[in-house]
């Protein structure tokens, strides 16, 4: 039986439907984009072939690099701050009593199931400079000098939006990691406890190493989610003030739709896709390389 299923023909038969679906829905839509990125297109009509001019033009704009700086800032916040906090939260949930665990799991999921628009509007209200929560707290404790217009200040706007993003998804990632923790056999922990290991040692020597497949998954989802960061920016600042909080996706949208330069917009899209492929490849290549079985 196994011999039959491992022939080239059977592999081809089984792979073909999935390959077809992937080609139709994922690969094919990219081809017109690639074609458009080589043309001067205003959204209504093609104004001619321009070769690589669109690519050269977009990389010369300062907004393109501002957008990249912002996107990678969000990616860094998500991976370097968000993921460790999610991991800590997952470990924290794991050691709670059943009742508290249920509460924390619900609380952690809550922001993730809310609409991005709702979340963003709530945080816009928090950041409001005249009567918003943050400035009100600062004023009430005598720290008036620290109050600011969080979403229009060049120094704080991106961090403020990033914080909203982190807040929304830290809980969801924690739940994913917690689910992974529950798959680790209990006897590993029992053995460690008999040997006198403390919580920190158990977490770093058993839990985290055995979670690498889940961590890899969360890392890929978080990274690509951060790269595609758009909705929060759209609602909270519309990319502003000016272009200061635009991300790559926002810059692509702005270029294509707001300025009617679809050729340049799709050139940004193609550059963006390449970056996402590279990031996915790097994670696949360097994270969780050895398959663990337990």
């Amino acid at each position: 039986m196994n011999k039959h299923f491992s022939t080239k023909m059977s592999i081809t038969i089984f792979v073909t439907p999935a390959l077809l679906i992937f080609t139709i829905f994922c690969v094919y839509p990219l081809l017109p984009q690639l074609w458009m990125s080589l043309h001067n297109h205003n959204g209504f009509q093609n104004l001619g072939f321009v070769g690589l001019d669109n690519y050269l033009s977009v990389i010369k704009t300062s907004s393109f690099w501002t957008a990249h700086k912002n996107t990678y800032l969000i990616l860094a916040m998500s991976v370097l701050i968000g993921l460790p906090i999610s991991m800590c939260f997952a470990l924290f949930i794991d050691i709670q009593t059943t009742k508290l665990r249920r509460f924390f799991k619900t609380a952690a999921m809550f922001p993730a199931i809310l609409s991005v628009v709702v979340i963003s509007q709530i945080w816009v209200a928090f950041y409001e400079p005249n009567w918003g929560l943050f400035n009100s707290i600062l004023r009430s404790i005598g720290l008036d000098s620290l109050t600011r217009s969080w979403l229009t200040d060049e120094k704080t706007v991106m961090m403020s939006i990033g914080l909203t993003f982190l807040w929304q998804y830290i809980g969801l990632n924690a739940i994913l990691l917690y689910t992974g923790i529950k798959t680790i056999p209990k006897n590993y922990y029992e053995a460690a406890l008999i040997d006198g290991a403390n919580f920190f040692q158990i977490s770093t020597r058993i839990t985290i190493p055995l979670l690498q497949e889940v961590i890899k998954y969360v890392l890929i989802v978080s990274s690509l989610g951060s790269m595609a960061f758009y909705a929060h920016v759209r609602v909270m600042t519309a990319g502003g003030p000016g272009d200061l909080s635009r991300t790559v996706i926002y810059q692509m949208y702005y270029t294509a739709f707001d300025t009617s330069q679809f050729g340049k917009g799709t050139a940004i899209a193609v550059i963006f896709i390449l970056q996402c492929l590279i990031i996915s490849f790097l994670i696949q290549r360097f994270v969780a390389r050895e398959k663990l079985e337990f």
Binding site: L20, F44, V124, N130, S149, G240, Y254, F257, T259, S260
Partner: protein
């Protein structure tokens, strides 16, 4: 070639054919709209009767930017449409406004699925016209006599002499002014400023008393893009503004530079509410109506709503030089390209053309009902105007120099978007006017508006 290889090649070819088939376009199926019979269940109908009961299906994308637009839809268009056009089945789609509307139209255009009737906008008209997707209404409204209902039919014509869209003409009467609360001014001991310097001093006094001087929408560069840049230039040099609108000068002209510097100055001196660059339209108006701010820089389309508040009055933008007399120079909002238009690809042109006339008339009836001035005559006897509207019309009609809006009559979508982008940055007070000029002047040189 062995059997396995042949099978693999055959599978690959089949895959390619399937992909090609699945993704090929089918124009006939995507654009055909089947007429829908409403009485198909009535058994005793004759064939002729069935034919006459068939409804024509039309899609409309309307502008839904503010309360006025929602009221027009809910109180006028929807209730009157069924009475006026029993043979039509109309599907409405809210289009938003500004860039949102433009983007939806672009998307539909790209997918070959344009609505039969839509709200056209100067911002995307050129590209739409070049693609041959907007219908010339001139012959139709001349034959129907609808053109004679406009006080100034010439105002409907684009520079090529054709008429592409219809509206109530209320736009022509919209201009930016500064609304203010008389009681707040009195309590603060300030009077209506006559000059720009006085305006800055009034703002300083109000701010010193803990009152936000001015609210205006700044998010996405709304204010700078649509009125502020133009006002700040023309209060110093109206002729320079006329020249800019007509592309006779660029952004490096000293009067234009001075105008941009006035915006920077207002932002730096705390004239605006904190966080103005991220203040949306609704919250800005609400900030004024709830008296959290003493003034509101806004177009007069909000006048009928604001006139309901006893303490509200308005004054024109104060002068920044002797060249500008606030009683003689106004910026007007209208564009012949903004209004209800018909897609040239519609399968029901006759019905669509009647529908745009109806929609323009509903707009007129609404604006008439709230006391706004309109140029499309409804046939109703003119009602008594609110005192504030009377004051406004007296001032507006007395103007000798009417400057068209830069935002609607001189910029392509890229230039418009870039003015909005960098205009919002100036409002932060951290972006120098010189940088704005440098950035926008480059875009202005590449502005395609005047190429057509």
């Amino acid at each position: 070639m062995n059997k396995k290889s042949r099978f693999q090649i055959a599978t690959l070819l089949l895959s390619v054919m399937l992909v090609a088939t699945a993704c090929s376009s089918n124009n006939s199926s995507s654009t055909t709209t089947e007429p829908k019979s409403t009485n198909s269940s009535t058994a005793n109908q004759t064939e002729d009767k069935k034919g006459s009961d068939e409804k024509v299906k039309l899609r409309i994308m309307t502008i839904t930017t503010d309360e006025n637009r929602n009221n027009i839809m809910e109180q006028f268009i929807k209730p009157n449409l069924a009475k006026e056009f029993p043979n039509l089945e109309v599907e409405f789609e809210p289009g938003g406004g500004g860039e949102d509307l433009a983007n939806k139209i672009k998307t539909y255009n790209a997918s070959g699925d344009m609505p039969d009737v839509f709200w056209s906008d100067a911002g995307f008209f050129t590209a739409l016209n070049q693609a041959g997707n907007i219908m010339d209404l001139t012959d139709s409204i001349t034959e129907s006599g609808f053109i004679n209902k406009f006080k100034v039919p010439e105002a409907l014509k684009h520079i090529d002499g054709k008429i592409y869209s219809l509206n109530s003409g209320a736009d022509t009467y919209f201009t930016p002014v500064i609304f203010y609360h008389k009681d707040i001014f009195e309590e603060a001991g300030v009077t209506v400023p006559q000059t720009f310097d006085e305006f800055l001093n009034v703002s300083k006094t109000l701010k010193g008393k803990g009152i936000v001087p001015v609210a205006t929408p700044g998010k996405d560069g709304w204010g700078p893009q649509l009125y502020m840049l133009q006002q700040m230039i023309q209060i110093g040099d109206p002729q320079a503004m006329i020249d800019l609108v007509n592309n006779n000068i660029d952004f490096e002209h000293p009067s234009v530079v001075a105008g941009v510097e006035r915006i920077e100055q207002m932002a730096k001196e705390g004239v605006f509410a904190d966080g103005i660059a991220n203040l949306d339209y609704g919250p800005a108006v609400e900030m004024f109506t709830s008296k959290k701010s003493a003034m509101l820089m806004m177009f007069t389309w909000e006048l009928p709503n604001l006139a309901k508040i006893d303490t509200v009055d308005f004054f024109p933008f104060p002068s920044a030089s002797e060249q500008y007399d606030s009683n003689k120079v106004v910026q007007f909002w209208g564009s012949p390209l903004n209004g209800y238009a018909v897609s040239s690809k519609t399968e029901h042109p006759e019905e669509a053309l009647k529908l745009v006339e109806f929609l323009a008339m509903q707009d007129a009836l609404y604006f008439e009902s709230i006391g706004s001035a309109i140029s499309l005559e409804t046939g109703n006897a003119p009602g008594e105007l609110e005192p504030l509207m009377k004051k406004y019309l007296t001032w507006y009609n007395g103007a000798e120099v009417m400057i068209p809006s830069l935002a609607l009559n001189s910029v392509d979508s890229r230039t418009s978007a870039e003015i909005a982008t960098y205009g919002a940055r100036i409002l932060t007070g951290e972006y120098p006017a010189a940088d704005f000029i440098k950035q926008i002047n480059q875009v202005w040189k590449e502005n395609t508006w005047f190429e057509n």
